[in-house]
Every structure is written in structure tokens, then in C-alpha cells.
Amino acid sequence: MHDLSDQHHEQFLRLFAESEAALRTFVRSLLPLRGDAAETMQDVAVVLWQKFAEFDATRDFRRWAFGVARVEALKFRRDKLRDRHVFDDQLVDKIAEAAAAAGSRHEAQREALEACLQKLPGSQRALVLAAYAKGTRMDELAAQRGQTAMSLYKLLQRIRQALLECVQRTIAQEELT
């Protein structure tokens, strides 16, 4: 038999799992490096759980979670990114709105990505996945491939653009059918 704290925990996990991908995208859009976003996302998850008792169940969890994520991302930027070029609060609000509005579109894009990755030439697929593997350093990856970091970044930019255009085309075709 589950007691109240178990039910509370399960409810949180269910709501968090539903919103996690959107939260990651939002946090990533506010922080200029993937590692920073991942670190902040850990803090967001902890704070959400700590404050979940205060959450009003009649409200939209995702909106509440976005508010918490916004505060945590701004805190990270204030503490660790003082010398970086970051967005002001008004633009952060606009990006938060854009990320929240794109929830279902982003979900469809994530689902379409698998097929688009398979459409890439094998070497490009292996490269982009290696570049996104945890702990990969771009300069080391470029050296392994015998190219400069700059040329590797350029190649990855083209691959990412091709992937984004592929997922957008895939979703448009699905909407037509």
C-alpha cells in the first residue's frame, strides 16, 4: 500500500517526466553551453522537488516549472557567466514564451530526429553522435580526424542545419497526410 509521500513522489515524477524535455530545451536556450545547461537542469530538478509541496495542483505544472527553471538559469548566469554575452530579462521572457508554445512541435521534432539521423551518410551520423557524446572535447575530436576545430564546427553546423530542415520537412509532410 502506498502512503501519501509515495503518492506525492509519484505525482511529481509523472509531471516532471512529461515536462522534462521541454524544460531542457528552455534551459538550453538560455545558456550558451551544453554542459552549463545540463548542470543547471540538475539544480532545476532538485528545486522543483523541494518546492513541490508548495505547488498548487490546479495550476499548470509546466508553466510553474518554467518559472523555476528561469530563476535557476538566471542564477547560474549571474554566478558563473559574468563575462559572457547573455540575454536581458525581456528577451528571456520572450524565449520562454516561444519554448512553451513550441511544446508539441518540439516533441514531434524529437520523434522525427531518429529517422533523419538514419538518412545521414554513416560517417556524418557517427560524427554528430560522437560530438554529442558526454565528455567529448571538440579539439580532441578534430585532432583525431586530422582537421582543425574550426572546420569541424563548420561541418557540424551544416549537419545540424540539414537535420533541422529534415525534421521540419518530415513534420510538414505528416501534417499534410
Binding site: 530545451t25 550558451p32 554575452h85 525581456q90 520572450k94 516561444a98 512541435r105 551520423r125 553522435l129 553546423q157
Partner: protein, 170 residues
């Protein structure tokens, strides 16, 4: 959407924007909702590619060949059980050694003293002579049987004399 912004957005998400590029993009994102949508789409793609890379690593796809990840060991392999059994045996032996070690500094407990006293008394009542013929200080067991109290109590007790048959007059 111009290719220029595709590149600028990706540069920003990689932390590569110069101050001028960041300022230009800040302005463009503030003014253009379509550009903001593209920006969050790239952020979403970035997160999704990270998840795909994780999935590929755990699934053992072609990435293993690219970055040479060592194969994951199975937890249930026989070797791991052998190591586990050896570790458990060592832990048991250490625990036995520690627990069975005598504690010299521990004070005598009252219940032990009472047990010794009652044992002495019972032996005395039974009039059992010590089995050991050694002096009491040479043996801890013998010392229990020869305390002064026991001796005094036995002296007070009348010792029955053996009855000898009276000679019958012939």
C-alpha cells in the same frame, strides 16, 4: 530564413559568439518571433542530439567504433560473483577476529561475581573436594574452589566420623 542566422544561432549555442555577433542576435531575437522560434528549435535539436548520443552509447551503435568505448561488463558475470564471495569471506573473518578479541579493560560485572559466589557455595554444600591438586594460584578454576569463606564454612560443619565396627566379644 537566411543561412546567416542558422550559423549565428549555432555559434551562440556553442558559446562562440563575439560581442558584436551576440548584440546583433540579441536585437534580432527581440524583434523577430520567427527567429525566436528557430532559435528554440535549434536548442531543442541540441538537447535531442545529446539524448540520441546517450542512447547510442548504451545501445552499442556505431559510436562505439568511433570513440572506442570499452564494452560494459555484466554485473552477473561469474568473475564478479567470485570477487564478491571473496570480499564477503574477508569481511566475516575480520568481524570474527574483532568480536572475539578479549577486552582487557572491561570492568567485572556484578552478575558474574554473583555467579561465582553461588557456584562456590554449591560446591561447598556438596562437600566436593577440588579435583585439581595444584595450588589455587596456579589455576583459575582451582582459585574458585579455595576461597577463605569456603574453608571457614567447612570448618564449622561437623565432620561425620566413619563408623567402625565394634569388636564383638568372642
Amino acid at each position: 530564413m537566411k543561412n546567416h542566422w542558422h550559423e549565428q544561432i549555432q555559434r551562440h549555442l556553442n558559446g562562440q559568439s563575439s560581442a558584436e555577433e551576440a548584440a546583433a542576435m540579441h536585437q534580432a531575437l527581440s524583434d523577430d518571433a520567427e527567429l525566436r522560434a528557430l532559435y528554440v528549435d535549434y536548442a531543442n535539436l541540441d538537447v535531442a542530439l545529446g539524448a540520441a548520443a546517450d542512447k547510442t552509447i548504451f545501445g552499442g551503435d556505431e559510436l562505439d567504433r568511433t570513440v572506442n568505448f570499452p564494452p560494459a561488463r555484466s554485473w552477473r558475470s561469474p568473475q564478479s560473483w567470485r570477487w564478491l564471495a571473496a570480499a564477503a569471506a574477508c569481511a566475516t573473518a575480520i568481524a570474527f577476529f574483532v568480536l572475539s578479541k578479549p577486552r582487557h579493560s572491561a570492568p567485572a560485572r556484578p552478575d558474574i561475581a554473583a555467579t561465582i559466589a553461588s557456584t562456590q557455595s554449591a560446591i561447598a554444600r556438596l562437600s566436593v573436594e577440588p579435583v585439581s591438586s595444584l595450588p589455587w594460584w596456579t589455576s583459575p578454576t582451582a582459585s574458585l574452589l579455595n576461597p577463605p569463606v569456603l574453608r571457614q564454612w567447612r570448618q564449622a560443619e561437623p565432620v561425620p566420623k566413619p563408623q567402625t565396627p565394634t569388636p564383638q566379644p568372642s
